[in-house]
C-alpha cells in the first residue's frame, strides 16, 4: 500500500502541473456557469448538464486515458526498472489519471452551483447524483482507455479503437437498441430494454439520473417499468453492480495484460 500511495503522489504531482487539467476544469466551469446564467430553472439546467456530461466525460476520459499511457511509455519503463510491482504501478497510473480528471469535473461544475445555490434548493440530491454519474463514467472510460492502450502497441490504432468505442457506447448503441425495439415491437420488450440499458454504462448513467426527474410519466409504459425497476431496491443494486463491474472488469483485464507485457 505504501508503494501505491507513493506512485499516486508522484503521478498527481506530474499530472496536476499539465495544462489540460486547467482546460478541463475551465470547460466544466463555463458550461455550468453558462447554463445557470441562461436559466434559473434547476431541472432544465440539470438535464442540459446531464447531456453534456454523458457525451463529454466518456470522450475525454477515453481519449486522455489512451494518450496518457502512450505518452508515458518511457517513464513507465523507467519506473518498472525500479523495485516497483507492475500491478501497483498500473493501479497507481490509473488513479493518477482518474483523480485529477474527477476533481477537475467536480470543481468546474460545482463552483457555479455554489454561486447560484438558491436555484438548487429543490434538486440538490439530483445534482449530487449527476456528479456521481460523472465520477462513474470517468472511472469506467479511464479503465477502458487503459485496457485499449495496454493491448495495442500502435498509438494510432489504439486511439482509433478508443474513439470507436466511445462512438459505439454513446451513439451507435442507442441506434441499435431502437432498431431492435422497432423490429420486435410486437413482443413485450420492457425487460429486454432494461437489460440492454444495463449493458451500456452511458445509458445506465443517463437513466439513473433521468428517473430522478418527474419525466418518467412522459415516457409512457416503458418509463413506468424503468421507474419501477430502478427505484426498487433490487433494481438499484443491479444498476450499481453493473456500474461497478464496468469499472472493475476493464481495469482487471488491462492489469493482467500489463503484468505479462514486454516493455
Amino acid at each position: 500500500m505504501r508503494t501505491l500511495s507513493k506512485i499516486i503522489k508522484y503521478q498527481l504531482n506530474d499530472v496536476f502541473r499539465s495544462k489540460w487539467v486547467v482546460v478541463y476544469t475551465a470547460f466544466f466551469f463555463l458550461i455550468s456557469y453558462g447554463l445557470l446564467t441562461f436559466s434559473h430553472d434547476s431541472s432544465k439546467v440539470l438535464v442540459s448538464l446531464l447531456n453534456v456530461i454523458i457525451i463529454v466525460i466518456p470522450l475525454i476520459s477515453i481519449v486522455f486515458g489512451t494518450i496518457f499511457l502512450y505518452n508515458n511509455k518511457n517513464a513507465i519503463t523507467f519506473l518498472l526498472s525500479q523495485p516497483v510491482e507492475r500491478k501497483l504501478l498500473y493501479i497507481g497510473l490509473y488513479l493518477g489519471l482518474i483523480i485529477p480528471l474527477t476533481l477537475s469535473f467536480i470543481i468546474g461544475t460545482i463552483i457555479p452551483v455554489i454561486i447560484f445555490f438558491k436555484v438548487f434548493n429543490e434538486n440538490f440530491t439530483t445534482f449530487l447524483l449527476l456528479i456521481g454519474a460523472g465520477i462513474f463514467l470517468t472511472m469506467i472510460f479511464g479503465g477502458i482507455a487503459f485496457l485499449i492502450s495496454t493491448y495495442n502497441e500502435d498509438r494510432l490504432r489504439g486511439l482509433g479503437i478508443s474513439i470507436f468505442t466511445w462512438l459505439l457506447l454513446s451513439a451507435l448503441y442507442d441506434g441499435i437498441v431502437l432498431l431492435l425495439l422497432q423490429v420486435f415491437q410486437e413482443y413485450p420488450l420492457e425487460k429486454v430494454s432494461i437489460a440492454l440499458s444495463i449493458l451500456n454504462p452511458v445509458d445506465l448513467a443517463r437513466i439513473i439520473v433521468i428517473l430522478k426527474f418527474d419525466v418518467s410519466a412522459l415516457m409512457g409504459y416503458t418509463g413506468a417499468v424503468f421507474q419501477n425497476f430502478f427505484s426498487g431496491g433490487l433494481g438499484f443494486i443491479i444498476a450499481s453492480s453493473a456500474l461497478l463491474i464496468w469499472i472493475i472488469l476493464p481495469l482487471f483485464m488491462g492489469m493482467r495484460k500489463f503484468i505479462k507485457k514486454d516493455f
Binding site: T3, K6, I7, Y10, Q11, N13, D14, V15, R17, S18, N72, K73, N74, A75, T77, F78, L79, L80, S81, Q82, P83, V84, E85, R86, I259, K260, K261, D262, F263
Partner: protein, 236 residues
Amino acid sequence: MININRLVKNYGRFEVLKNIDLSIEKGKINYIVGPNGSGKSTLIKIILGLVKPTGGEVFIGEHKINSDSDYRSKIGYMPQAASFPENLKVREVIEMVKDLRNHKSDFDLDLTEKFRLEREMRKKLCDLSGGTRQKVNAAIAFMFNPELLILDEPTAGLDPVSSSILKDKIIKERNAGKTIILTSHILSELEELADNVIFLLEGRIYFYGTLSKLILTTEQKNLERAIASIMNGAPV
C-alpha cells in the same frame, strides 16, 4: 553474479534470443557487443524484468527472476534515452526514486557533483537538454550503490568531458567490486573499459571472454578486425 540458462525469447514467430547460456562474473566490466537487432537490449531487459522470457531462467546471485520486483533494488539501470515524468523537477525525480527504492541513507553523490547537477535541480525534466537528461539518468543509476549496474549505451549523447567522467566512475565502481554490464557501439570505449566481451549475433552468443582472448582466437591484429571477422562468420 548472473547465471543465464537456456534463455529463449520470441516476439511472435521472430526468435530474438536463441537458447542462451551465460555466466557473468562478479566484479567485472562486461561489454555486450553486436550489430543492431542482435538481441542486446532484449537480453538486458530480461535481466531487469522488463521483458518476459519465452523460455529458460535467469539467476542474479541465488535469486531466480520471476515476476517479483524487490531484486531490482540491487540494480542500477541507465537506459539509452531515459524518460521521466515530464512535469517533475530533477530534484523531485531523484526524491521519487529514493522513495520508491526505500533507500534512506548512504547515497553516492559522486556523479551529481561532478556533472554539476546541483544547478539543474529546480528545472523541470521537460526543460532539460538531451545531454543533461542523460547526466541525470547516470547520476540516478549510480546513486544507490547497487551491486549490479546495467548501462545501455551510457556515453551516447554526452559531451567528451562528461563521457570521461562517467567512464572514470565506471572503472571506480568496478574496482570497488561492482558488476557492470554495458552495451556500446564505440570500440575505443570497449578497449578502454572492457574486462570481458559478450558477442551477440542473431540471438546467439558467439564469444564470451577477455579482450585479449578475442583477438587471439580470431587471429586478428586489433579489436576492430577481430569483431569484423566474427561478424563475417569466423569460427570462435
